[in-house]
Symmetry: D2
C-alpha cells in the first residue's frame, strides 16, 4: 500500500485525490493547500485524510511514500525538489517546471536517488492518444508529414503565464508521445490583447530534421470551442476531435500519390487519393485513473514512466523556445536537444 500526499487542492487537485482514493494499492494520506476553505472540503469528502496548510509538514511526514504536486507552475520546482530530497516519489502537474534547467535539476535529483519522477501529461493516458501513437508507431500512416492542432475557446486569462503554457502544453505533450521525436526549431507568433497581460493568442510552427512540420494554434478569446488535431501521413491521416462524444478518432485512407516519371510539367504529377474512413471504438475510461495506476506501478516495479522527467523537460524546452520566438515576432529559435546519457 503506497501512501500519497497531495499538495494543492484547487482546480485539478480534487480530480487527482479522487482517482488516488479509488486506486488499488494506494491511499491518500495527506492533503495540503494554502486555503483553509479548500481543506474544509477535503475533510467533508475524505474524513480519514490528514490536512494542513503547510506543504513542508506533508513532506516531513514519514508515512508519505509519494507526493503529487498540483499547485501553480511557479512553485513546481521548489516543491518537487524538496519532495525528492525528502525521498518521495513525485508526480507533478504539467508543465513540469517554469524553466528547462529546473526540469534538468529534478531529473538529476530523481536519478541519483532512484525515485520516480513523473509529469502529469494527462492526454497521453487517453485511449484516443494511445490509438494515435499505436497507429503511428506501427507505420499505418506511412511517413508523417504534419501535425496540426487547434485548441481555442473563451477561457480564463492567466495572469502569470502566456496561452502557450496554459493550452499548447497539452498539444506539445501529445505530440511528444505520438511522434516520438523532437523538433529542432520553432517559430512562434502571438499577441496580448489586454495591457500588461501575457499573450492570449498564440501560433507556433515547429520544424524537424526531416520533411515534417508541426503547428499549434491556441487562443483564450475564441467564441467557439475547438479541439482538433490533424496528423497527416503519406498513407493515412488522422483527425482527432476531442469534443466528439464518440468517434473522437477518425482515420482517413487518403493521401497523395506522386508520379515522378511524368515528363510533361503541364500534366498533374501529384494525384490525390481518397478512400474509406474508419473510427475505431475507443475504451471508455478516465485518463487520470490510468495515469495514477501507471504512477503506482512505476513506484512498485521501479519502472520508467511514459511521461517521465525527460518528457516534461522536452515540453518545457519547447515552451521556452516558443515564448522567446513569440516575443521576437516569429524569429526562428533552435530547440536544445538532450545529450544521450
Amino acid at each position: 500500500m503506497i501512501t500519497v500526499g497531495v499538495i494543492g487542492y484547487g482546480y485539478w487537485g480534487p480530480n487527482l485525490v479522487r482517482n488516488l482514493a479509488e486506486a488499488k494499492g494506494a491511499r491518500v494520506g495527506f492533503v495540503s493547500d494554502l486555503r483553509e476553505e479548500r481543506l474544509a472540503q477535503v475533510r467533508v469528502k475524505y474524513p480519514g485524510v490528514a490536512v494542513g496548510t503547510d506543504a513542508l509538514a506533508l513532506l516531513a511526514d514519514p508515512s508519505v511514500d509519494a507526493v503529487v504536486i498540483a499547485t501553480p507552475v511557479s512553485t513546481h520546482f521548489e516543491l518537487a525538489l524538496a519532495a525528492l530530497q525528502a525521498g518521495k516519489h513525485v508526480l507533478v502537474e504539467k508543465p513540469l517546471t517554469s524553466r528547462a534547467e529546473q526540469a534538468e535539476r529534478l531529473i538529476e535529483e530523481a536519478d541519483r536517488r532512484g525515485l520516480v519522477l513523473m509529469v502529469d501529461h494527462t492526454f497521453v493516458y487517453t485511449s484516443a492518444v494511445e490509438k494515435m501513437r499505436e497507429l503511428t508507431v506501427a507505420g499505418e500512416l506511412g511517413d508523417i508529414y504534419y501535425y496540426d492542432s487547434v485548441r481555442i475557446n473563451l477561457g480564463l486569462f492567466q495572469h502569470d503565464v502566456n496561452v502557450l503554457w496554459d493550452l499548447a502544453v497539452h498539444d506539445l505533450s501529445i505530440m511528444d508521445y505520438v511522434l516520438g521525436r523532437q523538433p529542432v526549431a520553432v517559430s512562434a507568433t502571438g499577441l496580448a490583447h489586454v495591457q500588461g497581460r501575457p499573450h492570449n493568442i498564440g501560433y507556433m510552427t515547429m520544424f524537424f530534421e526531416d520533411r515534417l512540420i508541426a503547428h499549434v494554434h491556441v487562443n483564450w478569446l475564441s467564441p467557439v470551442k475547438v479541439r482538433r488535431t490533424l496528423l497527416g501521413g503519406s498513407r493515412r491521416m488522422i483527425l482527432f476531435d476531442d469534443l466528439e462524444a464518440s468517434e473522437k478518432i477518425k482515420i482517413y485512407d487518403r493521401g497523395i500519390s506522386v508520379n515522378p516519371s511524368s515528363e510533361n510539367v503541364y500534366q498533374m504529377l501529384v494525384g490525390y487519393r481518397t478512400g474509406d474512413m474508419w473510427a475505431p471504438q475507443l475504451a471508455l475510461r478516465e485518463a487520470l485513473s490510468t495515469e495514477v495506476a501507471h504512477f503506482l506501478d512505476c513506484i512498485t516495479n521501479s519502472r520508467t514512466p511514459l511521461t517521465d522527467g525527460h518528457a516534461g523537460l522536452r515540453v518545457v524546452r519547447l515552451l521556452e523556445a516558443a515564448s522567446a520566438s513569440m516575443d521576437a515576432q516569429g524569429r526562428l529559435v533552435d530547440i536544445a536537444r538532450e545529450t544521450p546519457a
Copy 2:
C-alpha cells in the same frame, strides 16, 4: 451594350463566360484559349461567340470593349498590359499578377488611360463577406482583435505556385476588404512534402500597427475540407463557415470584460462574457453574377471597383512577403505600403 472578350476557358473561365452571357448590358463577343478542345465547348454552348487560339486577335478586335483574363497567373501581367494598351477595360482573375511591381505597372497604365482595372477577388462579392464588412465597419464588433482563417482540403498540387498563392489569396482578399487596413509585417512558415514542388502547407501571421493580429492556415494535404474564419472583436465575434449550407455567418455576443481596478493580482482581472448567437439570413445569389454586374457598372459609370488594381496589388504584396518569410522559416518581413497619391 458592352462587348466582352474572355481569354482562358479552363477551370474558371466557363463560370465567367456564363455570368457575362447572362448579365444585362453585356454580351460575350470573343473567347480565346490555347486548346482547341476547350474552344469546341464554347462553340457548342455559345454558337454566336467568336473563338480563337490567339489572344492577340481578341485584343485586336475593335468590337471588344472589355477583356476578362482567366489564364495561369504567370501570364496575367503581359495579357492585362496588352489589353489596357489596346484600350480595353480589364478584369483579371486572382491573384492580379505574380509580382507587386507588375501590379503597380498595370495600375499606372489603367490610370493614365482612364480604363477600369479590376481583380476577380470573388469572395468580396458574396453576401457572407459583405455582411462581415458591414458589421465591422458599423462598429458592431468593437475593436478588432484578430482575424483567423483555415482553408484546407485534399487538393491539386500546383506546379508553379505555392499553396499561399492558390488558397491564402482568398483569405487575404477577404481580409483586405473586411478590415479595410493593411498589415505591416508578416511571419510565415510552411513545407513542401514533394521533392521539387512548391510548399503545399503554409501558415502566415500578419501584424498590424495596433493590437490586431491575423493568421491564415492553408494546406493541400488535409483529409477533411475546412473553410472557417474567425473574426474576433472586443464586443462581438463572427464565425464564417463557408461549408455550412445555411447559417454561413454566426455572430456571437461574446468577449472579455477587463476590470482594471482590481488590486489583487490573484483575483481574476479579466472575465469572460457570453451571450446570444445570431445567424442573419443572407441573400442567395451567385457572387460572380454580382461581380460581373459591378464590373459593367464601373465601366459604364466610370466608377472605381471595390476590388480595383490597388486591392490586387495589396494582396500580391502580402503573398510576396509571406513567400519570402516562408522561405526563411518565419523571418519577419515588412510589408511595403502604398504611398498616398
Copy 3:
C-alpha cells in the same frame, strides 16, 4: 429547515440526494434502499444521514417532513400513498404511477391532506424548456402547428416497461408544459425485437382539437444518439437539440405565407419564408437544483408545483393510451380529459 427522506438510491437517487444536500432550507434526514451496498455509499458520502433498508421506517420517522421517491415505477403508487398518509409532502420520480387511476388516487389524497404532490418531470426545470415555454406563451411562434421529437440511442432494455414509459415520458412532460394543452387522441406503433420483452421502438402521433399534431419517436436500438425536438409555428420555429453543448435552442424566423386571393391554381398559393436564426444564451444551471428548490418553496409557501399531480396524471394517461394503441398497431385511442374540479 425541511427534513427530507429519500427512498431509492439507484441510478437517479444519488442526484436527488446531492441536490437536496446542497439546497438551502433543507437537509437529507434519511435514505432507504433495499440493497445494503447502495446504503454503504450513502454512509461514506453523507456520514450524518440515517440509512436503512426499510422504507416504512423512513415513513414512520416523525422528523421527516417530505419524501422523495426514486424507485422502480411499479412501486411508486404504494410508496407515495403511504407517504401522503403519513402526512409527508411527496416528490415522485417520473412517471408518477403505472396507471392513471393510481395518479388520481394520489391527487385526491394530497388534496385532502393539503400536502404537496409533485412529479419529477426534470426537463421542465431546464433553461432550454423554460425558454421554449416562454416563447410559446408569448405568442412569438404564432399558431403552433406541430411538435416533433426524436429520442433514440443504444440503451438498456427495460424488462418491465416499454420504451414509451422509459423515453417518451420525457417528451410528453416537456410537451405538456410547453404547449399547455392536451391531445384528444393518440395513434401509436412500435415493435419488440427481443422475444418476451416490451416494445423497444415506438412512434406515437397525438391529435389535438385544433390544427396541431405531435409526434414522438423513441428507440433503444439506435447506433447514434439523437435528442432533437422541433416546434413549428406559423411565425417562428424552434429546434431544441439537447446534445449541443451550447446553442441548445435555435429559433428560426421561418414559415409559410399563404396567399388565398390567387385565382390561378397553377400558381403557387403557399410561399415559404426564410429569415434569421437566433440562439439565445441559456442560464447554466442544473435542472434538478431548480426543481428541488421549487419543491421546497411549494412546501414552505403552500404553492402548487409546476409539475403537480395533475401533470403527472396527464402524462400517465398519454402513456396508457399510447401503449394500448401500440398493441393494436396504430388504432386511434381517445385520451381521457380531466373534468374541471
Copy 4:
C-alpha cells in the same frame, strides 16, 4: 443508337435531357412541353432537337424509340399508356402513376408488347443506396430490425398531392430496393395546416411479416433540412445522411446481445454492444447518368430494369394505402400483394 423523346421540360426534365444527351448510344430526338418558354430553352441548349407542345406528335414520330415522361403525376398513366401503345419503351418519373390499377395496366401493356417499362426511382441508382443494398443482401447487418427515415425541409406546398406522394416516395423506393421485401400493413398519420390543401406533414409506420418495422417521417414545414435514414440490424447498423458531403454512409458495428439463459429477471438480459464505425468511400457519380445508362441497356439487351413497373406499382400501392390510413388517423390498412405470375 436509340432515339429518345422527352415529354415535360419543367423541374426534372432538363436533368433527364442533359443525361440522355451525354449518354453513349442515345440521342435526344424530340422534347415536348405545353409551355412555349420552356421549349425556347431547349432550342438554345440543344439546337438539333425537335420541339413541340403536342406530346402526341412526339409519340407519333417513328424515329423515336423510347419515351421519357417527366410531367405531373396525374398525367403519367395516359401518356405512358399511349407511348407503350405506340410501341415505345418508357421511363416514367416517380411515382409511376396516381393509382395502383393504372400501374398494373401499364405493366400488362408493356409485357404484352415486350417493351421496357421503367420508373425513375432515382435514389436506387446512387452509390450510397447501392452500398446499403449490397451490405443488406450480403447479410452484413444480420437480421433487419428497422428502417427509419426522416425527410423534412421548408418546401413548396404541392396543390395536387399530399406530402407522402412528394417526399415519402423517395424513401419507399429506397426501402423497396434495399430490403427486397414488402410490408403487409401500414398505419399513417398527418395533418394539413393550410385550409383546402393536402396534408403537409406525414408519418407512416409499415409492418412486415416478421420482426421488422419501418417508419417514414416527411414534412414540408421544417425550418431545417434533414435527410437521414437508419437501417438497424442485429449485427450492424447503417446511418445514411444524404446531406453529408462525404461519408454519406456510416456503418456501426453496434447492436444488442441477448442472453436468454439468465434466470434472474432483475439482471439485465439484454446487453448492448458497441464497436467501430466505418464510412466506405463511395463512387462519385450522378445517379441519373447511371439510371439512363441502365434504361438504354435494358432496351438494347432486353433486360428487366432494377426499377421496373412492378417496383413502381409496389410504391404506388404503399402510397395509396398510407394516404387512406392517414385520412383515418392511423387506421391499419393492409397492403395488397402481387400474386406471382
